[in-house]
Symmetry: C2
Subunit: 217 residues, 2 copies
């Protein structure tokens, strides 16, 4: 009998809820997942720690890539900019220019190096429509660009792309995602602040999904 | 009288000849240039030093972005892989998967942060046709992707794209590029080894341009 190498995938893991669901989805699809975690000077180092815990909980290997952005310009990188308390209209101040482009570029580099057949990203457009690099048209354009600019023997998959938060939570529930390890709050406290964009979307998602957020005590 | 902010550009600078010509071209077009230099574990740290010297010679500011690739897979990153002595057919072992994609992604992030109107890259397809991320079709696809994934208020310009080495050298000569500061050799010695791909293209280019390479003593 021939032994067959299991399918390999690179999964972008942020410590947040969405990418954890993407990871468990990829695993459920039979991929041997290699998580890629970025330590990019985000306000809360805790995200990097939680991402590692999620990778370990999923029994997946991970690599941490450190990026020192030599420029600021986003509330997520620059502690001098205040995080808004209400859902912003248009592009939020938490927008980090080209962040997903950079993360995906590293992911395809990693995928090509280890001959993985897929790259997974937990991006979705429903909630964060203010971020241009979460939109379906961006992902389609990224795929075409990556095909042209690399050997291109992998797919770029965004299984949550057209789902809203409650559907993502329902999906994660079925897949056994350890929600208690996932962080969403932009303010980085142990428990959700309940006020920032990200907390509001999470709370609404759990409510609509009919689930209880294990982070809310 | 109204004072007008000069046009700003981000220029990818590698320490090599091509990107130096791209920088001097951007300057000649009236851009105030901000150079972006990567220290990405390339075999020869000297490239980073030379890039800084070129930026200084051009009287431009620069930022150095350090990347520790947590994976290998290219002769330019992995000292265990031997650099080939002859021009390779197909994709050379010096190919770093998605390198230009990563570099350009950071450049557009930087451009968007400082509200620059252009990003310059010295890529050209004539000589390095083995690298998929130097081809015109890649650059077109990158532009479309960047438009979709960022606010997109800048152009991505590759003024050398369809030129061969001798034309690039003639162009650089006119622009006053300090060729003596530019490095091309993959083996990183003080003087070109004359054997690697990159040295061969450089030597041929200077010969065809009817110029003398100041690095050859």
């Amino acid at each position: 009998m021939k032994s067959r190498r299991p399918k390999q995938a690179v999964v972008l893991l942020s410590g947040g809820l969405d990418s954890a669901v993407a990871l468990y989805y990829a695993k459920a699809k039979g991929y041997n997942c290699h998580c890629l975690i970025f330590d990019y000077g985000q306000r809360h180092k805790k995200e990097v720690l939680q991402a590692q815990k999620i990778a370990k909980a999923a029994r997946c290997s991970y690599k941490i890539l450190k990026i020192n952005f030599p420029w600021k310009g986003s509330a997520l990188l620059d502690k001098k900019i205040k995080i808004p308390q209400r859902t912003a209209k248009g592009v939020p101040v938490t927008y980090v220019p080209a962040r997903n482009i950079i993360f995906l570029s590293f992911a395809v580099s990693f995928a090509e190096t280890i001959k993985a057949g897929a790259v997974f990203i937990g991006a979705h457009s429903q909630d964060y429509s203010g971020y241009p690099d979460c939109r379906p048209e961006f992902l389609s354009a990224f795929r075409r660009m990556a095909k042209a600019g690399t050997l291109g023997r992998y797919e770029v998959l965004a299984p949550l792309l057209r789902k809203n938060k409650s559907r993502i939570i329902m999906m994660g529930k079925k897949l056994g995602v350890p929600f208690e390890l996932t962080l969403s709050c932009y303010n980085g406290g142990k428990h959700p602040c309940g006020k920032c964009d990200s907390c509001q979307y999470r709370a609404k998602g759990f409510k609509e999904a009919g689930e209880v957020d294990p982070l809310i005590k």
